[in-house]
Amino acid sequence: MTEKQSFDAMNKKSRGSRKKRDIALILPIIGIILLLTPVLKSFAVGDEASSLTSVMLIIFGVWAGLIAAAFLLSRALISEIRNK
């Protein structure tokens, strides 16, 4: 029984680290979609006159979001490096 439990735990752990690595791949892809395609521009509020401000705020917002995500991810992945 205990053997099975430890097996499950191991399985879970490896699945967890695999997931983390997948997120590490997905994060830059999300960044590319948000920053290089006009996806976000369509959500920009305001008329033509305020376009510069809104676009700038969008860029800063996405940027900050990416940095926060990278921060969380790096804390998760640093244990992987240590494990090796």
């Binding site: 830059p28 960044g31 290089l36 940027w63 990416l66 940095i67 790096s74």
Partner: protein
């Protein structure tokens, strides 16, 4: 107004502080007090060498001219860093394991340690970086000029630039060429760069805060200004935007100085984890106030002011000299840090890949061991630094002040980005070859020069205006800004598209068309599989002697370090003193160590020179081919293991059955033995009671009773004797009474002994005559006991009217085998396994007496004699084989 002298003093004090910080860091590094120097923060800050004066001043200028486009220059690196796990980590790991010294070294090492490739990449880097260094000199002199424009005594810009170039060269030579091992961190320089990174960030933030809250009325007004003043025509999410982001992402990997700080100065992968978010954060902060500064500058400064200098001129216009001085220091830091790191990176490349190979070729005729490679390398590195700065200065002198220089940043980005396909595919694609890489880089480089670099001189250098208009040789499909007649309005997008597309095309096509050399294959495996490799195990077989190697090592890594290295290796090989054996593993380590100083290609060439061979060994080839074989072997091993497990499980089950049966037998035996002992005991007790109490017993009865008592006691004794005998035999403490005896006599004696207990009148015993010719050195009494037992059993259990017992002989060089067979009922299959076990009573032999010890005693005796007894199934009756060694030692058979 700040006077020129004060400004120069500020600069000098700042530079002295930098010198001290660098010196202190070196000192601490030598004492191994590295806790601070090793922190990920220093690493992250050093990466900010990406932000040069071009970005420090130029971002504001770009915002004023082109709106939000400047963001792309920072978003590219951000994307690369948040994807660090997939690319940068691999790059850093390879850099560490292969002891890479520069980007040229990495490319050359990946493609079979090719020096030609290293030379090409080095030239590309020099051509791409020199204008960039000129750009830094220009922004420094421009920023000086801002303070000195009203000062008649101030030196001309050319003199200023010359002084700056001298100062930078001195600093770089002092701290950049301290260690020969380019693979080691330049602690001093890196710490100084980190300090400069803090200064430029603080400077830009201060100017930004000043502008937003002190010049303008808070963010709302600034944003309204920006909306009004900044151009909106060139915006975001356009092809140019994508191109710029891609280009800056490529630059953060490919620029020699970025490669230097990210890969070579890295000493722990976990620092990369911190930098993955901290460096984008740094860029984020650098960008925060760019738009407000640009908008405010356009608003308050007179028309025609250079927007590139808004960072300086706004505080000056507002009379804030302290802030202006801080901003000046920020720009100064940006420019100097870039130049220093770039000079270190380039000088390493030039000395390792150009100077050293040339020198090696020149001295090959003489005895190469007598020269000191170290001093050659150090000298060439110092000269290269001075040369590179001199080149930058010359470039600045020729083109300075022209608009050509302003756009050089992006042009340089695209120039070095030509190594991107070879680099990135090299990390993941095993079939990329040297020829492919070389072709790709050359094609990309040519197109870059033709479509972007040369046209940037506006017709004054090589490409004339006529060619620009009508194409080379008047061919319109060769027009530099519209190759193949395809009109892409933006020249940068045009050049990026064609150069990288054709670069990639040539690289992939030629890679597929050519076959890599063995060494290339080997390196490809090590690069693409860097996370799977345990360690280097491919070895060149050694021909060289340790003495040669030691001499070479002294020349390259220095006397003390070479001695330490060899000593440690000798210890590992278990030699207390003297030089280590030149094992393959040692040679590999040594080549790696050399590569850290002189680059992979040169190190490989040197080792090949000294060991007199350059080919790849069979082991190496096998290692390359082995990859698949290993996987297959592994799965085969797994399969075998599972079969073995199944086998074991089966055996265990059998053993378990046997154990259960044995335990059952033991229980049975115990009740049997109690019963057997109880019966004689009962009769002895009752008859002896009669004899004791009945006085009138007659003589005849007395004799009968006492004979019964005697018989029963004898039976008791026999049972107990058997049990004792067996336990004695089992314990292995039996002393054998060895003597030479004729086997025929032994058997006849056994037959006679058996016939005393059984009626032998109609039993036919056929004893082979050959036994009389056999003499054995053995314990005759014990052996006879075995025969008696077997013969008695054969008679006892035989139910035929005429029992026949055959005793035959078989002989091998070491053993005599007596085969005793009968025509009795035999032994049922189920019982065969247990007949030699103690206490076994066969299911079929219920009627007979005995407690089931006879055969187990026989087996124990034979074991003690060094032979064995076995049952052979046959069609009729039972057959026992007694195998006796021709010579028995008196040894413990266990």
């Amino acid at each position: 107004m700040l006077s020129f002298n004060i400004l120069v003093s500020i600069c000098l004090i700042y530079v002295i502080i930098l010198f001290m910080v660098a010196a202190l860091a070196e000192q601490r590094a030598q004492k191994n007090k590295l806790s601070f120097l090793h922190s990920p923060i220093v690493y992250t800050l050093s990466i900010s060498v990406y932000c040069t004066a071009w970005t420090f001043y130029g971002a504001v200028g770009s915002a004023a001219r082109n709106g939000l486009e400047f963001f792309a220059i920072y978003l590219g690196p951000t994307l690369v860093f948040i994807g660090w796990w997939w690319f940068l980590r691999k790059l850093v790991r390879i850099g560490n394991t292969q002891r890479i010294t520069s980007i040229a070294d990495l490319i050359s090492s990946r493609y079979g340690k090719s020096n030609l490739l290293a030379v090409v990449v080095t030239l590309l880097a020099v051509i791409g970086t020199t204008p960039y260094i000129a750009l830094q000199l220009q922004s420094l002199t421009l920023s000086f000029a801002v303070f000195t424009q009203k000062n008649a005594n101030a030196p001309s810009s050319a003199i200023t630039a010359l002084f700056i170039a001298f100062g930078l060269a001195a600093f770089t030579v002092v701290f950049g060429t301290r260690n020969l091992d380019a693979n080691e961190r330049h602690h001093g320089v890196i710490t100084a760069i980190a300090l400069e990174a803090i200064v430029k960030l603080i400077a830009l933030l201060s100017v930004g805060i000043f502008v937003v809250w002190f010049v303008a009325d808070g963010p709302t007004e600034v944003l309204a200004n920006a909306e009004r003043m900044l151009p909106k025509t060139t915006g975001v999410f356009t092809p140019r935007w994508v191109t710029l982001t891609f280009l800056s992402g490529a630059a953060i990997i490919c620029l020699p100085r970025m490669f230097q700080v990210i890969v070579i100065e890295n000493d722990a992968e976990k620092h990369l984890a911190t930098a993955s978010w901290a460096f984008p954060l740094y860029l984020f902060l650098m960008c925060l106030f760019v738009v407000p500064i640009a908008a405010t500058g356009l608003e308050i400064l007179p028309e025609g002011s250079n927007p590139d200098l808004f960072v300086l001129t706004i505080p000056l216009a507002m009379g804030q000299e302290a802030i202006a001085a801080l901003a000046f220091l920020g720009g100064f830091s940006s420019a100097t840090s870039m130049v220093i790191v770039a000079a270190i990176a380039l000088s390493t490349m030039v000395s390792n890949h150009i100077v050293l190979p040339l020198w090696l070729r020149r001295v090959q005729a003489r005895s190469p061991e007598s020269d000191d490679v170290r001093s050659i390398l150090l000298r060439s590195r110092r000269i290269s630094i001075v040369g590179i700065l001199g080149l930058g200065y010359l470039y600045y002198q020729f083109t300075g002040g022209t608009s050509a220089l302003a756009s050089i940043g992006l042009i340089a980005f695209l120039g070095v980005a030509q190594v991107l396909p070879a680099l990135s595919f090299g990390l993941f694609w095993r079939n990329a070859t040297r020829t492919g890489a070389l072709a790709g880089i050359m094609v990309g480089f040519t197109i870059w020069a033709y479509t972007l670099f040369l046209p940037s001189f506006d017709g004054s250098f090589i490409l004339t205006n006529d060619i620009m208009e009508n194409g080379l040789w008047g061919l319109s499909i060769l027009r530099p800004h519209a190759l193949f007649g395809i009109n892409i309005p933006d020249p940068l997008v045009h050049a990026v598209f064609w150069s990288l597309f054709l670069n990639l095309f040539a690289f992939v096509t030629l890679s597929l068309m050519t076959t890599p050399k063995p060494l290339e294959n080997l390196q490809a495996l090590q690069f693409t599989n860097v996370f799977g490799m345990s360690s280097q195990r491919h070895m060149p077989s050694s021909i060289s002697t340790s003495e040669d190697l030691f001499v070479l090592a002294q020349r390259i890594v220095g006397r003390t370090r070479a001695a330490r290295l060899f000593e440690q290796k000798a210890k590992e090989q278990g030699k207390p003193h003297g030089l280590p054996d030149p094992t393959s593993e040692f040679i590999i380590t040594l080549e790696r160590e050399f590569a850290g100083s002189v680059g992979a290609a040169t190190a490989h060439a040197m080792m090949a020179q000294i060991s007199g061979r350059e080919t790849v060994s069979v082991e190496e080839l096998i290692a390359v081919a082995d990859e698949t074989a290993q996987v297959m072997e592994y799965s085969a091993r797994l399969e075998k293991q599972s079969t073995e497990l199944a086998e074991t499980a089966k055996e265990l089950r059998r053993a378990n059955n046997k154990l259960t049966k044995l335990s059952q037998q033991k229980d049975d035996f115990l009740s049997q033995v109690s019963h057997e002992l109880r019966t004689p005991m009962t009769s002895i007790r009752s008859f002896s009671a009669i004899l004791m109490n009945d006085g009138e017993i007659d003589r005849e009865q007395f004799a009968r009773f006492s004979s019964i008592i005697n018989d029963e006691s004898q039976r008791l004794t026999r049972i107990l004797d058997d049990i004792l005998d067996l336990s004695f035999l089992e314990s292995g403490k039996v002393k054998l009474n060895l003597q030479v005896k004729n086997m025929g006599e032994m058997l006849e004696q056994s037959i006679t002994a058996s016939s005393t207990s059984y009626d032998m009148s109609n039993v036919d015993i056929r004893l082979s005559k050959k036994f009389h010719d056999v003499k054995l050195l053995t314990d005759a009494d014990r052996l006879t006991q075995v025969f008696i037992n077997l013969i008695s059993n054969a008679i006892k259990y035989n139910n035929k009217p005429k029992p026949i017992i055959k005793i035959d002989l078989a002989e091998t060089p070491d053993y005599i085998t007596a085969i005793i067979s009968d025509n009795g009922p035999g032994i049922s299959e189920g019982d065969r396994e247990i007949i030699f076990e103690k206490f076994s009573k066969l299911s079929s032999g219920g009627a007979a007496s005995g407690v089931g010890l006879g055969l187990s005693i026989c087996a124990e005796i034979m074991r003690n004699l060094g032979g064995n007894i076995s049952f052979k199934p046959s069609d009729s009756g039972a057959t026992f084989e007694v195998k006796i060694p021709k010579k028995t030692d008196n040894h413990d058979a266990r």
